[in-house]
Amino acid sequence: MALDKYQIAQRISNELQDGYYVNLGIGIPTLVANYIPKGMNVVLQSENGLLGMGPFPFEGEEDADLINAGKQTITTLPGSAFFDSAMSFGMIRSGKVDLTVLGAMEVSENGDIANWKIPGKMVKGMGGAMDLVASAKNIIVAMMHTNPKGESKLLPECTLPLTGKRCVKKIVTELAVLELVNGSFKLLERAPGVSVEEIQQKTAGKLIVEGDIPEMSL
């Protein structure tokens, strides 16, 4: 069965390691914060200027001066630090952030990503996405395998304007975990009960399937 968005987040949380500094994008990536294993130290960076993002505040304790990059009210944790936007992207650019998780509209088989602009529609802007994808050491894309029309989002080449080139390392969709290797999507895991055939059918770009593909463990 295909994963729901919570399960996608949960699967991504398996990629976390103790001591990681992680930037989570808006949408499914944000949910990853709920699945950080107990006892593991993971520090969340919010690119508007915070390391050590905590959970949402209790009702009535919201502070307009304390928000995340999605403009949601949040809290700090012991050991948090605030800084300005230049230092925030400085630490991103210098590779101090260990993992970046973000959504995408399209990913190509060589790791290009498109997630900011649809020609003909009102363009809201790239925000920090171009900085993040240009600099992150390790980028995982969290997205649906296909768009609402049922078309594959894993393509030979992106059709939408790019956010960044050759930067995505891994993709987790409702159907599969895939790694970007040598200009191909390499299938690593499939969602419980999802067949390799279904993944193949829904992947427009080059797909590498080697040996038995295990089911994800959640």
Partner: protein, 231 residues
């Protein structure tokens, strides 16, 4: 050396039509509410605004958009805002989209006397069009120019009579960077204290960068996305 102004009206009085302004804030967090209100009241037109976002319909820079005071926005993310979209689509408003880290660093570069910076953000995308690409150590970077502004308008938590500023939490964001980049920098603060009250080790913007300071009033501090959990 009197940097203290009575209020926003006085501090923005000489901002002329066609000026380039930097406005601090991220979303509605840490925006200079008093100066925006004074600019709306004053009706200054044809402004070029460098600001990460453009407010919402009835708050922040959105208020200036409603009065059609803005000719061009230079931002990383816009359009939480129907009037913005209408003006953009009708061609009344020009928009230049800049990656967020590039925007921040182009402001900082100005305050640091660096004419340009190299950043990898936007390489291989339409942001790179017409820009110089240069390879350092095997990686491509874009040359991006420092931003100047006639006025930088920032909001701080506390400030003193020397213009030293301290920001609170994530309301810091672009404010200290823009404060460094203004030909004239105007700071509105929630608390204006005498020199000596702020810890010199914890000044976020040294007063040398600040030309005008006043105590703001009636902060609404609107929350854009109120997210909470149950006790």
């Amino acid at each position: 050396m009197n940097k203290i102004y009575k209020n926003a009206e006085e501090a923005v009085a000489d901002i002329k039509d066609g000026s380039t302004l930097m406005l601090g804030g991220f979303g509605l967090c840490g925006i200079p509410e008093n100066c925006i209100a004074a600019l709306v009241k004053k009706g200054t037109k044809n402004l070029v605004c460098i600001s990460n976002n453009a407010g919402v319909d009835d708050f922040g820079i959105g208020l200036m958009l409603q009065q059609k005071q803005v000719k061009k926005m230079i931002s990383s993310y816009v359009g939480e805002n129907a009037e913005f979209e209408r003006q953009l689509l009708s061609g009344e408003l020009e928009v230049e989209l800049v990656p967020q880290g590039t925007l921040a660093t182009r402001c900082m570069a100005s305050g640091y006397g660096m004419p340009a910076i190299y950043t990898p953000a936007g390489v291989g995308t339409e942001v790179a069009e017409g820009k110089e690409i240069r390879n350092f150590n095997g990686k491509d970077y874009l040359l991006e120019m420092a931003f100047d502004a006639d006025f930088a308008i920032v909001k701080a938590w506390k400030g003193d009579e020397h213009g030293n500023l301290v920001y609170k939490d994530t309301a810091r964001n672009f404010n200290p960077l823009m404060a460094m980049a203004g030909k004239i920098t105007i700071a509105e603060v929630e608390e204006l204290v005498p020199a000596g009250e702020l810890d010199p080790n914890n000044i976020h913007t040294p007063g040398i960068y600040v030309h005008r300071i006043f105590k703001g009033v009636n902060y609404e501090k609107r929350i854009e996305q109120r997210t909470v959990r149950k006790k």
